[in-house]
Symmetry: C2
Subunit: 261 residues, 2 copies
């Protein structure tokens, strides 16, 4: 499977190919395997699992860091597009791993649904490639990623060694760098939380109303074992994420509905 | 909960507010409740659960059909944006139901992940609103939706009467209209299928390479009970869809990994 015993690793993100988070992740992955980067040419936060169907895609070789000796490609599409074009057009063989991030901002809880970072990991998972999304609870472009390095290496090596079950990818979130050391890793479930939207209504210079989406994160899930809880307590959270969205437990109930003749 | 005992129904889609599929759905929903439409101003297929974070949103009242007597709003955002702005800014109270579609094209199997239609239903579900996405296996803008009417009414009335469990929305797909009558409804699971991508590489007039994403749908899931199987056999498929993506069955395994100190 591996060239010179080094795993082939596809790296992508949703903040764009020049974001500090992906630059940090590339440096870590270079210590683990042969790295190829295919990432969006501009920020794509909140893109969910969008793909580009009605427009063409550009995907060009690019040099961001001339000393890094990593092949990099800048793509005009979404994170999911980057994985598709990376595996089909750029890489000569199926990668052994796909990593996405490090996202500038949380992808814990329901954020996994809106996340471009995680959609790239899920897309790789759909294609049968072990995949991990990494996110840091710090939106700043000056965020400090140093505390994530040790854990990213360890988790990545475990995934390469053990593989992941078919249909499962990992969603990893890190607390913001602080004075205290990380307490360790917790395996979690996705907290049942949501965003309470607020729309900021304004007028453009022509007098037409427009809106900015903003909101407040509401977590009423206090049952324990959630990613939000782990992160608040200073742990790295790992949630195994699947893309069979079937609510199997509701199938029997639904069968009793009088829908058929 | 309901004005004059009529349920308040938010209607949206991803093909855009003028698409025949949503016009058909609006006509059906008018027989069931009070309808308000908030839908994208242009096609948004393949948008997944994208939301608009880096740009402003327009959302203006619009008259598509002057005889329909339905309040309609055209929004510059994604399907998920439409639900957010619809519930927060347009509607005076929480709707009793959100319906999305009728999509021109299948959202069975893994398509649920890429689907703007389903992301609108999921967004409503996250907000605690019973929600249904409807799709027809016919991409044509001249598609015939007549055979869907009876089932859409029946399924919608059942959802209004029984509600849906917290965290679950419905994904309904209809076979393309044909000579044979629909055989009925099957409650299904999402088929484990995927798209095998093909990129069509071209050159623009300036000589720069670009790509069109296309692909072939590959279904190797032959275990029975899937939406793809039901649709091929001439049934309407209903898949209950959840947005807790946690792969609960893998949590214990993961806890045995040597990730902590």
């Amino acid at each position: 499977m591996q060239t010179e015993n080094k795993p082939l690793i596809l790296v992508t993100n949703d903040d764009g190919i020049t974001a500090p988070g992906i630059r940090h992740l590339i440096q870590i992955m270079k210590t683990i395997g042969e790295v190829v980067v295919v990432a969006p040419d501009r920020p794509q936060s909140g893109m969910g699992h969008a793909i580009t169907l009605s427009d063409n895609l550009y995907c060009d070789p690019v040099t961001i860091d001339k000393y890094s000796q990593v092949k990099e490609y800048s793509c005009s599409g979404t994170p999911a597009d980057c994985v598709k074009i990376g595996t089909q057009e750029i890489l000569k063989r199926k990668p052994d791993l796909c990593v996405s991030g490090i996202n500038h901002g949380s992808n814990s809880s329901i954020n996994v649904i809106y996340s471009g970072t995680m959609s790239a990991a899920v897309e790789a998972g759909i294609e049968g490639i072990p995949a991990i999304g990494f996110s840091l609870l710090d939106y700043s472009m000056e965020a400090n990623f140093d505390h994530t390095t040790k854990y990213i290496k360890r988790i990545t090596n475990n995934v390469i060694q053990n593989g992941l079950p078919k249909g499962v990818v990992l969603n990893i979130n890190f607390p913001k760098a602080g004075e205290e050391k990380l307490k360790g890793v917790k395996i979690c479930r996705q907290a049942k939380a949501f965003w309470r939207e607020q729309f900021d209504k304004r007028q453009n210079p022509q007098g037409r109303n427009y809106y900015w989406l903003s909101g407040e994160f509401v977590n009423e899930d206090k049952d324990g074992g959630t990613d939000v809880e782990a992160l608040e307590a200073g742990y790295v959270s790992i949630v195994p994420v699947m893309f069979d969205l079937t609510a199997h437990q509701f199938i029997d109930d639904l069968k009793s509905w009088p829908i058929n003749d």
